[in-house]
């Protein structure tokens, strides 16, 4: 066992984290190279190996495992560079992808066209067949009709086909038959079958997932195979894994089968990282994991040590975008970041965002032509960011431009420039705070009893402000805060999930069918996991059922342990587990109601072998000192001469009391008055809002 490398290739940058014998040893960064992804990956690894002082050839030769994450799939969808894909559905229902599930964000807004379906109607085909809710065949699949469609699909040069027939979840025979016809007559066309990919009731969710998945297959197969080949050519003979939105990673061939799981896999890694760093710090509470980028603020949760999942992840805006539909790590993203612009509307109300100066022209202080006041400009005016030490001096900021931009808004508001900057920062923080509230409320998690783990370059500016609003007393800012996703991959387990739809009700429980389905699911996930090493200890299968009270239609994930139901008491245990979940989320339980169980899920978890452990070293708190000071403004009467610390000069055990600023190469941490920051024994920052001792 030597090195493990995790790679997060974003649209612009590729981040790399290298660990040796379970210890993170180096971070590397480079530009993403879209034409040949490996060049950028290699550059980033080279950068990291340089930082670690190790030869890159040695690293490639002695790496056991590479975990690869990419936004390539997401970008392909955003830019509509996916395969030419046909959508095949039940005759009479061609508009499933068009009509979706309805809904609109702004009632009185008529300025935009309705969004196009993920697959155009002209590429939609209807096959004559119909299955009923219970799996009974209402109209058998018309094979002549099906063969005609296959020929048409071939003739029109489709590269992929998404097959979603009504009630294929109750009886997949027609989907399978059509799949076989395609395999026989057009073996080179990629196919996704809805009952295999996403066996959930609600045809739109299933169809949307299937359409997205099929459209990615040719592309992602090529992408992953070429990466595999390039890695082999430089002497890597360890295991290659790909991170997924299911909250883990899996081998290349399983992702080629189900590439949809690569969408959003980067943000899904952040909660895993959060969990690992919280463990290092001995934190046992629920976690709120935030990742602050330049334009977005992502929030995920870890509850009772587990990730939380949702089937309502939208690609693009809610309602008008495309629903991912699969059970994905629940990460909410709101448009807020350093580039968010502050403005007043025609009746004088303040807004921050949703407009963003982005990175070009960027905030006024970037000196690239931006003139509008942004959050970053506010941080400069407040004295939090040293214009000469932004991103470790890699970029010099123009502080006059920041002041000028904020001054325009200050004039409109009729308050001082610093007060204006303070309001902008607080406003942005409030918006982020509400994003956290929305997700915690949905999951019945109390922020007051949770810990925030914050990552992303801009997190340190206002995370303490956000924590204070939430009455959340503790924040962990990991030492690798700027590469949260790539570090999460280091700790991610190998995860394979399979699900099946089998509605049954507690008062008339289908023992035999449930047991059969569970046995099948367990068998299927075990087979999916065989690409990974079987000898790892601690492999477990986690079982979950999506359940609800009778007549409700929105299910709640209910975990359970027994894979065999053999009588009333086993069902009673399951029912009680559901009551508990419902009570947590909605604050009520209805003991008189039957419980309906809908989708059954089995998840194989093969531990990565890397477990975060609480750092055993004893704390030795002592005050840090510095002779550097700068004037900073904290919303008080006037500015305060504030001590400035360099992160590189702080050692484990050092405590910095607010007001203070800690400057690192990749981030700036603002310690507000009455708050404090401590460098932990693992080198993370532990931030406290009460200026007291670590709890």
């Amino acid at each position: 066992m030597a090195y493990a490398i995790s790679v997060d290739t974003g649209g612009t940058f590729t981040d790399v984290v290298i660990s040796k014998n379970h210890n993170l040893i180096a971070i590397g960064k480079s530009l993403t190279t879209k034409e040949r992804i490996f060049s950028g990956v290699k550059d980033a690894i080279l950068n990291a190996s340089g930082n670690a002082g190790v030869d890159i050839a040695e690293i490639f030769n002695e790496t056991d495992r590479i975990i690869y994450g990419t936004t390539h799939a997401t970008n392909a969808i955003v830019t509509r560079n996916t395969a030419k894909t046909a959508f095949l559905t039940t005759k009479g229902f061609p508009d499933i992808l068009l009509l979706k599930e309805g809904g609109k964000l702004s009632a009185h807004d008529f300025s935009n066209d309705y969004s196009a379906p993920y697959i155009p109607r002209i590429n939609t085909f209807e096959v004559d067949e119909r299955i009923m809710f219970d799996g009974a065949i209402h109209r058998p699949l018309d094979k002549t009709n099906a063969l005609c469609l296959v020929e048409e699909i071939k003739r029109r040069n489709f590269e992929a086909v998404a097959v979603c027939l009504l009630w294929s979840i109750s009886n997949p025979v027609h989907e399978l038959l059509f799949g076989e016809l395609l395999q026989e007559h057009a073996p080179n066309i990629a196919v996704s079958l809805s009952h295999q990919l996403n066996p959930v009731m609600r045809e739109y969710r299933r169809a949307s997932a299937t359409a997205i998945d099929a459209s990615l297959k040719p592309l992602m197969q090529k992408h992953l195979r070429s990466l595999e080949e390039d890695l082999n050519n430089v002497g890597f003979d360890g295991e290659l894994y790909v991170s997924t939105v299911a909250g883990g990673c899996n081998n290349v061939s399983s992702l080629i089968e189900q590439p949809i799981y690569m969408i959003g896999s980067g943000p899904a890694m952040a909660p895993i990282a959060g969990s690992a760093f919280a463990t290092e710090e001995g934190t046992k509470t629920d976690l709120i994991v935030c990742d602050t980028g330049g334009t977005t603020f992502d929030v995920g949760l870890v509850r009772d040590g587990n990730l939380t999942f949702t089937r309502e992840t939208w690609l693009g805006p809610k309602y008008s975008g495309d629903l991912l539909g699969i059970s994905a790590v629940d990460v909410r993203s709101v448009g807020a970041g350093g580039g968010s612009i502050a403005w007043l509307d025609d009746a004088g109300l303040m807004h921050v965002g949703p407009q963003s100066a982005g990175s070009n022209p960027g905030p006024a202080c970037y000196n690239q032509g931006g003139e509008k006041p942004t959050v970053t400009d506010a941080a400069v005016v407040l004295g939090y960011i040293d214009p000469n030490y932004f991103l470790g001096s890699r970029m010099k900021l123009n502080s006059e431009a920041a002041f000028a931009a904020i001054q325009t808004l200050a004039d409109e508001l009729g308050v001082g420039v610093q007060d204006t900057a303070w309001q902008i920062l607080r406003f942005a923080s409030d918006f982020m705070m509400r994003a956290i509230s929305d997700i915690t409320i949905n999951e019945g998690l109390d922020p007051r009893e949770s810990t925030i783990v914050a990552g992303g370059g801009a997190a340190g500016l206002n995370i303490m402000m956000i924590a204070e609003e939430l009455n959340c007393s503790k924040v962990i800012l990991p030492r690798v805060a700027s590469v949260l996703s790539a570090s999460g991959m280091q700790f991610s387990n190998i995860v394979a999930e399979q699900s099946a739809s089998l509605p049954t009700v507690s008062s008339n429980f289908s023992y035999e069918k449930v047991n059969t389905v569970l046995a099948e699911l367990i068998d299927r996930v075990e087979r999916l996991g065989t690409g990974s090493r079987k000898d790892r200890d601690g492999t477990v299968i986690e079982l979950t059922v999506e359940a609800r009270y009778e007549s409700q239609v929105w299910e709640l994930d209910t975990p359970f342990t027994s894979s065999i139901f053999d009588g009333q008491s086993s069902v009673a245990t399951l029912v009680e587990a559901f009551h508990k979940v419902h009570e947590r989320v909605f604050a009520v339980r209805d003991e008189t109601s039957d419980v309906e169980f809908i989708n059954w899920k089995a998840k194989l978890v093969v531990p990565s072998g890397i477990n975060a452990e609480q750092n055993p070293e004893k704390r030795d708190p002592r005050s840090a000192t510095t002779d550097q000071h700068r004037s900073c403004f904290f919303g008080l009467e006037k500015e305060i001469s504030t001590p400035i610390y360099r992160a590189t000069e702080l050692l484990p055990g050092h405590v910095v009391s607010g007001p203070a600023i800690i400057e690192a190469e990749t981030t700036t941490v603002v310690v507000f008055p009455k708050m404090s920051a401590e460098v932990t024994m693992s080198g993370n920052f532990s931030l406290l809002s009460d200026n007291g001792e670590t709890k």
Binding site: G103, A107, H108, F110, D113, Y114, P120, F427, N442
Partner: protein, 592 residues
Amino acid sequence: MTVDDTATFDPYMTAIIHNRIQGIVREMTNTLLRAARSTVINTARDFSCSICTADNQLLAVGEGLPIHIFGSGLLTEAMGKFHAESLAEGDCFLHNDPYNGNSHAADHAFLTPVFVDGEHLFTAVAKAHQADIGNSVPTTYMATAQDQYQEGALIFPAVRIQSKYETNQDIVRMCEARIRAPRQWYGDFLAGIGATRIAERRLKELCAKYGVETIKRFIKDWLNYSENRMINAIRELPEASLHNNGAHDPIADVLPDGIEINIKINVKPEDATIELDLLDNADNMPCGLNVSEACVVSACFAGVFNVLDPSIPRNSGSIRRLRISLRDGSICGRPKFPHSCSVATTNVSDRLVNMTHSAFAQLGEGHGLAEGGVGMGAGGGVISGYDTRGAETPYINQLIVAGAGGPGAPSADGWPTWALPVNAGLMYRDSIEVEEFKHPMLFDYLRIVPGSAGAGKFRGSPATELSYGPTAGDMEVHWPCDGTVHAPKGILGGLDGCTARHFRLLQSGKAEELPNVVAVTLGVGERVSGYSTSGGGYGDPKERDPKKVLKDVLEGYETVERAKEVYGVAFTGDVAGETLAIDKGATAALRT
């Protein structure tokens, strides 16, 4: 001229507190959606949450449906009228009386007064369309009801259902003894109360955090700010006196001549007001189509909001600039008891929304909207019967699977998910699979009807057709579909949408055309099918960008024939060969 334009307005704190309150309405909405039992609430989202002040000002509405929200203040007014003396913390009221400020009897509104330090500061309102309300026939929209007695709904004029946080079980038993599928109703009842209790808790936390005085200041500032937004928007408009008229279809037996509707709108930029005059309308009629005061107000205000900047907040502040004149005893005014308002939230109200927003097109291109599709047909039918697939159980529910097409607008085409003018596409759609799972029924098709849209420079959305019937046991189906006679109108040269048509398919395979108001019992093997209207077009179709016409043909919204005849766009090549292209020369010739 702006309201309260003083130095005391805090642009920052006002925005912060407003955002918090919006968060509270969002949480109410989420609770009601997720915990409710009937699909009309938990899947279609036919409900609205809002927060009013103690003096009955509408403060925040979230994503509430236009037809529900503007009347919230009237609901809390009734609560005050009946209970001012005894109002106490822990109360919750059920209100569905259309003569005391509610929309129609099928909308059960839950009102929870929120007390902070013993002072009544807010009322949390959750209003949800019920699957059943104990009417004389199994529908929540009874167009043929001669009066409220024949309609037969249980009426609750702001009745106290909780006191000291304890539910009055007498009322629960009354409802269970009358409302069909009572277990489903009780689940929805709990969810409705729960949503207002969540708001109560959060509003108290908000007051504790900022202090009651700051919150009171905020209420004043927020409403004034909203009024200023409206003032600014109205001042952008030219001064004008607009007239519009329209009609609801005749209904056999009860409404042989239909209902003619008139509206006068005075746009007064100098006063920054818009006057809506509905005085010139017919008297109440012996049918279920009489519009309640809450619905007339909501429908007309929704029409105004449809043509203004969509970011203007919807509350009592902004609507202070809208003056509405209503007549007692008018079919779209203040109804006279005991005329039935069973269908108040849709049919005539839909026409009012359309007439209001399309009147503004008289100001010229760039203003107003075409008329959107109307008519709640088979896709919005109330189905009921006994489910005999397992142990026999009663079922009743409104389907929300397909609606009418949206209107063409100054810069965009109509949306296929529009459904009706009164909800403007906000509602969700049921899943075919969920409906077939929950009810013994089977759908045969559900699809866009090519070539059905009202053509225009910006076209309406095409209609959606569907067909379904029972699979086990008889199924009763009711709907009151407007638009079979009077199509939604296009404007500024845009063409009208199509009219609605529905059929009953007998077991013999024979199809019988249905009237617009339908009450049928289908046996197994029988079906209903059809479509409601499409949206009207905005502007001359011959001015539509030929590239958009090409796309419409490729995507199957329009036909090659109509492209040529209606839009004046000719093509070379063909769709099947993937070679269809605009014939520029021929198109230019067709368009001159």
